[in-house]
């Protein structure tokens, strides 16, 4: 009994899997909607950090900059600034852009780290 039906079962499973892939990849592929900034591609993420840095260069509001960078994920905000600088150097961003990013990174690094004991 099993020997008789097994090939059909396997054939059906293969066909079912194939149909699932056709449906999932061609008929109704994944659409990226309602995503969050932490999933942004590296270039967009870098541009996001650059916008924060540009804004910070004018208003010097580090709290607001941190708030905006927090949308990129759970890491300390200076990590995102550093990553952005690395990418900007790699792609030869303009000197002004690099200065903005550097200014933001320096300000963020100057903040006390979590758990750090401040001198009186």
């Amino acid at each position: 009994m099993l020997t008789t039906h097994l090939p059909r079962l396997i054939l059906g499973a293969l066909l079912g899997g194939f149909l699932a892939l056709i449906y999932g990849w061609l008929i109704r592929p994944v659409e990226y909607v309602d995503t969050t900034p932490d999933s942004l591609r590296t270039d967009f993420r870098t541009d996001y950090v650059l916008m924060v840095a540009e804004s910070y260069s004018a208003d010097q509001d580090l709290d607001l900059a941190q708030f905006r960078l927090a949308a990129l994920g759970p890491l300390p905000p200076d990590v995102y600034a550093t990553d952005a600088i690395d990418y900007a150097l790699e792609l030869s961003f303009s000197r002004t852009d690099l200065e903005h990013l550097n200014q933001l990174a320096l300000a963020l690094r100057a903040l006390p780290q979590p758990g750090e004991i401040q001198a009186p």
């Binding site: 059909r8 054939l11 149909l19 942004l40 208003d59 303009s94």
Partner: protein, 260 residues
């Protein structure tokens, strides 16, 4: 194939589908990586647009702001940014919400003031960060921004009877010394039961320096520019009459101008 022969085949298809979905949803579910700003959730999209405006307010780089806005398909920048500015003001975003609202209003007004040229759209790529935008050449038409430090003063104040207006308005026009409309100027209006503030440039089709506020009949309003101490008092609706004799409520037109 007999009926009994189809049965295991169909069972197999069902198992295949179930296995595929189990793999796709539980074992190796979709992870959103390498997404573009266009796919952001509505609230993050709003924050992103506000950030574009804030960066523009800091750099004055309209070309770069346009490039960033072009990442959002179907975006009507001048109208959507203006609406977003209103939301920022009304949405309890606190102090930085007001700053962002002003930046959004400024960008909306500047975009409406300087329509995108056909050549710039054709050459623009989808990514902004990987292709740094060159510094634009100085524009021959200077933006009508107020001269820093130069105050605005009340130039005129008049009652308006315009039957085409759907409601009685306080219409405000803010211009620089050269009579150019100035967008992004915050206006505060106060009445006995509350206060509100709004910005010029949110209705660019009516002028870069234009803003209006709807009055309620019987209420007396006092108005001032946020950065000015000069008050315009006793603004209230007044009776007007259409040519066919039908009465309606009239508006005010207040004009502030920057002193040279």
């Amino acid at each position: 194939m007999s009926r009994s022969g189809w049965f295991p085949f169909l069972i197999g298809i069902g198992l295949g589908l179930a296995g595929g979905l189990y793999y796709a949803w539980l074992i190796n579910p979709v992870e959103y990586t390498d997404t573009a700003p266009d796919s952001l959730r509505a609230d993050f999209r709003s924050d992103y647009l506000a950030l574009i405006a804030s960066a523009y307010a800091a750099t004055d780089d309209l070309v770069r702001a346009r490039t960033r806005l072009a990442l959002f398909s179907g975006l009507e920048p001048s109208t959507e940014l203006a609406a977003l500015a209103q939301q920022r003001l009304a949405g309890g975003f606190g102090e930085f919400g007001e700053v962002e609202a002003a930046a959004l209003a400024q960008l909306a007004a500047d975009l409406a003031n300087q329509p995108r040229s056909p050549t710039s759209t054709a050459t623009r790529g989808p990514s902004t960060a990987s292709t740094p935008v060159p510094t634009p050449l100085p524009s021959s038409t200077p933006r009508p921004t107020p001269t820093p430090g130069a105050p605005f003063s009340l130039a005129s104040q008049e009652q308006v009877c315009n039957p085409l207006l759907a409601a009685p308005l306080i219409q405000v026009e803010v211009s620089d010394a050269a009579e150019g409309g100035v967008p992004g100027v915050e206006i505060v209006v106060v009445w006995d039961a509350g206060q509100d503030h709004f910005f010029t440039g949110l209705k660019p089709e009516l002028g870069q320096g234009y803003a209006d506020f709807t009055m309620t009949e019987g209420v007396s309003y006092t108005l001032r520019l946020a950065d000015s101490g000069q008050l315009v008092t006793d603004l209230s609706t007044h009776p007007c009459e259409r040519p066919d004799g039908i009465p309606y409520l009239g508006s005010w037109l207040i004009h502030f101008q920057q002193t040279p």
